[in-house]
């Protein structure tokens, strides 16, 4: 007897422990006794490397090289999940990405992932999987009551039911439906994904998707032409189906040829090979996504879990193979019914027996390979049912020779319902399902023919044609997806292109490789390897088994396994007028499950066409959408998470703010301190303190985020006159002027102080976050409208750290700094008057100082090189100590400007406000013929005297008006909405004045000074406010001008 390959290494003790504890031993024995592992076969598994895993808490063992699916099968775990709608027990149907049933919750905690396909999950040590969509357990699921009611729940039943009474949908019906649908559990809401992800850009001449023999053949031809080639294979292993399907390539076994092709490709410098990397989608202009799973087979090993390749290829070869179609007979969803090719895979690749007595049903020759494989592995083939009256070709002869009982013109009437296959009723294919014989079997292999995987071909608009002989859609070479140059950029190769026979596949793939290489600009020669396989008889399209099955059979014949769509559902949809394939899909949910109809689409189409009395090509297909197979959201997001979710812009003093209590406010990608909060203080208290201190002593504001643009050239003045509503060309050198910018649509878009630096140079300040936008705005006009004007613009925002030194003691502070440095810029009123600027040194720092004020106080904005910003800030803080200097944040800035009646872009403006609304007519030049926005402001609605205009607002009791409140007018409008006559744009408590102050836009406002208007709050209170002048503080402007 062979010693069991799985020595007790993983069973709890070390491998040389002679006495594992009794419980473990018992478990182990149980596992072994249930194993369906075959003694031989299993080319992908390494029997010297057993791997422990758990399924629904039960410990099981598999081998390195297993998928979770093959390991479950080897542990005789036939039942793997429950279906979406009827909660029917389901087993494995397929062996790859097309599997609809075997979806599990994988992993735990911050590495849990729902809906993972067992067939594409490589087994690893410690894997823990849970089956889905059942309660309380997989074996006993109360949801199966839906199955009993299936007759009452046909396609679209919910559109016809649950209509009355109205509240029941939201409160009763919908919650129940939602809970019973939904498949896997949601990941824990409080945990963050433990893994990281990344992207990678890659450029190549030819991208080959698929590492089967067709992909490798195409890659060889393309690579030999000198083209830069990238080959993607979704599985861990190369070679695709060929090693399982047999035949000979260049006189050798396919496996050997694959190895040699790989060696050859690996040796070529112009070739990159990636396995575990799926071609997920094809997009315009040669863009393709590769989805590389780096650590899914070994979680937690460090490094990114998935890498998304953003590929630009001149040409894309889709060598994505073909997928076998199920046959539609009653009970085709019972666990143990499997695609014939999948069954062959499980035997050959993983050495697992899906059963001991198998019925094979087919309409083509390929399933004979399965029968022969099973036979060879010692598994009894009870019957081979061939729907074709004359049966198959050479393979049939071989099968009969080996003693396999082949019956032609036969099919399956039904498989007995249950959690596994027990009995199979056999009937004439061309009948209504009257059973002629019932055989005992524990598995069924079915083959309804093959459909090329045309997804990637179709994603970007490639069209399909119907192939009558093979009864499938294949890429129409005349109508490929078109690239940037208007020519095709995708070439299908091998069975993805239609050919199924090995020799044809290789020849077609070589042609495809050559075609792609040539289209990418290389000279290529299509020299295929020679493939030899047995001749096959033509397949026979079979869309229903038996062909004239009665309704009770059709209601049990599944098309879409996961979404529980049956033949009868599609027929019902057609009967009710859902004739378009898109209607049928949506009405029945056919093909909308997580397998996206890889198994069900063509079968469903055929049933629909038949129901409509139409031909399949006339019915057409639904649109194929990316991705080919679901890809992780993590991979799509890439590296952008946590700290690097988005760029965070920092001023040179950012770290100081952070260390000194900054309560941050996001402004674009910048962070600005909202206030500097001290220990024991609330944010609100901090704001009050900052305001009072700045008004009484001196405050510092980090104004570095304000945009600073240098505009220079002989035409700069003329240009700025177009950009601003004001006249900037007449500004004198050394002076500053507050300027407004509008969009061409007339609305106020930005403001800031403009300084004239010299004869042909201006410096324009923008709002925080406005720098890039306004810079782009200027460049746009300069490059696309006035390209003959001589103006250069440079954005110097980040070159400078800018500090506003504000308050009655600001000058004293600067003078002290100068004194300490032994001299510096004269900052007296005479030397540097209000609205002027000067270059020089303050406290030893080279700087430019502007006498401008946004607070109404004596104020200097001082710009130093960014590299000196922190040092300058430190110097101001140190020297200012005796004057009570404090930093202040944006909220203090906002309140102080509101006290002064200064407008704020984004508060008083919202993209619908023109300068005229804000009483800013003084800043709109009447002398200029033109500026951006001028013509727009002449339109009828813009000159309407009823436009709301800026005023100040004060509540009668000194309280603060609610933010965003609207002023009530009389009556209602034609739609029954209460009329409004204005709104609050800014509202604050002013600690300076000890009361609430607000600004707002009010209809005829400036003419209604003193009137009291009402603002209904959302709290049930109506606030009364008096219309007042918007300047609440220092109306004469004496303080800023001292």
């Amino acid at each position: 007897m062979r010693s069991p390959p799985n020595a007790p290494a993983g069973a709890g003790g070390s491998s040389n422990d002679p006495s594992p504890n009794p419980i473990c031993r018992r478990l182990l024995e149980k596992v072994r006794s249930m194993s369906t592992r075959l003694a031989n076969q299993g080319r992908l598994i390494d029997r010297s490397k057993p791997i422990e895993f758990t399924f629904n808490g039960t410990r099981m063992t598999g081998y390195a090289g297993d998928t979770l699916a093959s390991a479950l099968l080897a542990n005789d775990q036939l039942l793997v999940g429950r279906s979406f709608k009827y909660h029917r027990p389901r087993g494995l149907v397929a062996s790859g990405a097309e599997e609809p049933n075997a979806l599990v919750g994988l992993g735990t905690g911050d590495r849990f992932e729902p809906n993972q396909r067992a067939t594409t999950t490589e087994l690893f040590s410690g894997l823990s999987a849970q089956s889905q969509n059942h309660w309380p357990s997989l074996e006993f699921d109360v949801g199966v009551v839906n199955n009993k009611l299936a007759r009452f729940l046909p396609a679209g039943f919910y559109y016809k039911m649950f209509i009355h009474p109205r509240p029941f949908w939201k409160h009763i019906y919908e919650p129940i439906i939602r809970k019973s649908a939904g498949l896997g559990q949601a990941p824990d809401q409080e945990l963050k994904d433990a893994d990281t992800y990344e992207h990678f850009y890659f450029f190549c001449d030819v991208l080959v998707v698929g590492g089967g023999v067709a992909g490798l053949q195409a890659a060889l031809v393309a690579a030999k032409s000198g083209a830069k080639v990238l080959v993607l294979e979704q599985n861990a292993h190369w070679g695709g189906r060929a090693p399982v399907d047999g035949g000979m390539i260049d006189g050798d076994y396919p496996e050997a040829w694959v190895e040699q092709a790989l060696a050859e490709l690996t040796a070529m410098e112009n070739v990159t090979l990636r396995n575990r990397c799926m071609g997920a989608g094809v997009y315009d202009h040669g863009y393709a996504l590769g989805y590389e799973r780096l650590t899914d087979h070994a979680p937690g090993q460090g490094g990114p879990r998935h890498r998304m390749w953003r590929i630009r290829a001149k040409q894309i070869v889709t060598a994505t193979g073909a997928i076998e179609r199920p046959l539609s007979f009653a009970g085709n969803d019972v666990p143990g019914v499997m695609l014939a090719s999948a069954m062959r895979d499980y035997v050959v690749n993983w050495g697992t027996a899906p059963g001991k007595r198998v019925v094979v049903a087919t309409n083509n020759d390929d399933a004979y390979r399965t029968a022969l494989t099973l036979h060879e592995a010692g598994i009894e083939v009870v019957r081979l049912l061939d729907t074709r009256e004359t049966g198959g070709g050479a393979l049939m002869a071989e099968a009969r020779e080996k003693g396999i009982r082949v019956e032609c013109g036969r099919g399956i009437a039904k498989v007995k319902d249950g959690k596994c296959v027990t009995k199979v009723a056999i009937c004439a294919q061309n009948g209504q399902g009257g059973a002629q014989e019932e055989v005992e079997a524990d598995a069924v292999a079915m083959s309804g023919g093959w459909s090329p995987v045309v997804h990637l071909w179709s994603h970007c608009g490639g069209k399909l044609i119907w192939d009558d002989a093979q009864a499938h859609f294949r890429p129409d070479p005349e109508r490929p997806p078109l690239g940037a140059d208007g020519t095709g950029f995708v070439v299908a190769a091998g069975s993805a292109n239609g050919p199924l026979e090995l020799g044809h596949v290789l020849a077609d793939a070589a042609e495809a490789g050559a075609k792609a290489a040539k289209a990418a600009g290389f000279e290529a020669e299509a020299k295929p390897a020679t493939g030899a396989a047995q001749d096959e008889a033509p397949m026979q399209p079979v869309w229903l088994m038996p062909a004239r099955a009665e309704i009770d059979l059709r209601m049990k014949a599944w098309l879409d396994f996961q979404n529980d769509v049956k033949v009868s559902d599609v027929q019902l949809a057609a009967r009710e007028g859902f004739e378009s394939v898109e209607h049928t899909k949506r009405y029945t949910t056919l093909g909308m499950a997580t397998d996206q109809g890889k198994l069900s689409n063509i079968n469903g189409l055929a049933i629909l066409a038949d129901s409509l009395g139409s031909e399949i090509p006339q019915v057409g297909t639904t649109t194929f959408r990316p991705p080919y197979h679901p890809i992780s959201m993590g991979a799509i997001g890439g590296e952008a998470r946590g700290e690097i979710f988005q760029p965070l812009r920092k001023t040179p003093m950012h770290d100081w703010h952070e260390a000194n209590g900054a309560d941050w406010e996001p402004v674009g990608h910048w962070r600005r301190p909202y206030a500097f909060v001290r220990a024991g203080e609330s944010v609100k208290e901090a704001v009050s303190r900052e305001i009072l201190n700045t008004r009484q002593n001196v405050g510092l504001l980090d104004a570095s985020t304000l945009g600073k643009l240098i505009v220079k050239g002989p035409d700069a003045g003329r240009f700025l006159d177009m950009m601003y509503t004001n006249m900037m060309s007449t500004l004198k050198v050394g002076k500053c002027r507050y300027g407004l910018m509008c969009s061409e649509n007339g609305f106020l878009s930005d403001d800031g102080v403009v300084a004239r630096i010299d004869e042909d140079t201006w410096l324009c300040h923008t709002t925080t976050g406005g720098a890039d936008r306004i810079h782009a705005h200027m460049e746009e006009w300069l490059q696309t409208e006035w390209w003959d004007w001589k103006v250069y613009v440079a954005n110097v925002t980040e070159q400078l750290a800018q500090v506003a030194v504000v308050g009655p003691k600001a000058r004293m502070l600067l003078e002290k700094l100068n004194a300490e440095a032994g001299g510096g810029m004269d900052v007296s009123k005479e030397a540097l008057p209000f609205m002027e600027w000067k270059d020089g040194e303050i406290g030893g720092f080279t700087c430019r100082a502007y006498r401008i004020s946004f607070s109404g106080e004596l104020s200097y904005e001082i710009a130093v090189p960014a590299s000196q910003g922190q040092a300058f800030w430190d110097a101001l803080m140190t020297a200012g100590e005796e004057f009570g200097v404090m930093p202040y944040g944006t909220e203090c800035l906002h309140v102080m400007r509101a006290e002064k009646g200064f407008i704020m872009i984004g508060d008083e403006t919202d993209g619908t406000v023109i300068p005229q609304d804000l009483g800013l007519n003084w800043a709109i030049s009447k002398k200029k013929e033109d500026f951006i926005g001028k013509r727009a402001q002449e339109r009828s609605h813009m000159v309407d005297p009823d436009r709301w205009q800026l005023v100040g607002l004060e509540t009668l009791d000194g309280s603060v008006l609610p933010d965003g409140a609207y002023a009530l007018g009389n009556g209602v409008n034609a739609n029954g909405q209460k009329n409004t006559i204005g709104r609050v744009t800014s509202t604050y408590h002013s600690p300076t004045l000890g009361k609430g102050i607000a600004m707002g836009l009010v209809r005829h406002g400036p003419k209604r000074m003193g009137e009291v208007i009402e603002f209904p709050g959302t709290d049930g209170t109506t606030y009364k406010a008096k219309i007042v002048d918007p300047i609440f503080y220092d109306k004469e402007g004496e303080k800023q001008n001292v």
Binding site: L482, G483, Q783
Partner: protein, 109 residues
């Protein structure tokens, strides 16, 4: 995911390096124009199914605005050219004619 070749720096820029700037060759109407002229200038766009001329800025690159001739139903690009012109250059128009005989767009054909 378009690729457009910047005519200034030659980079075959992918869309994320570019900023789309709407229809090309607009004639600006300012003060003195009629309401209709101004309205059409600001809001009336060709929005064709087929050949279109549009503005792009190589924003994550050389920063220059340029023009592209592109088909809106296939995303085929016929060519890119300087923004400092008020009409598509002849070689661009010829390139389009070769692919889309009989095309027209505003006054151009």
């Amino acid at each position: 995911m378009l690729i457009l070749e910047c005519p200034y720096c030659g980079v075959k820029a992918e869309e994320t390096e570019l900023h789309a700037g709407g229809e090309a060759h607009l004639k600006r109407f300012g003060p003195g124009s009629s309401d209709d002229e101004f309205h059409d200038y600001l809001f009336m766009r060709e929005n064709p199914k087929g050949v279109h001329f549009e503005r792009w800025r190589h924003v994550n690159g050389c920063g220059k605005w340029f023009h592209a001739a592109r088909c809106t139903t296939t995303l085929e690009v016929f060519g890119t050219y300087t923004a400092q012109t008020s009409a598509p250059p002849q070689e661009i128009r010829d390139a389009i004619t070769a692919k889309r005989p009989g095309w027209s767009w505003r006054e151009f054909e």
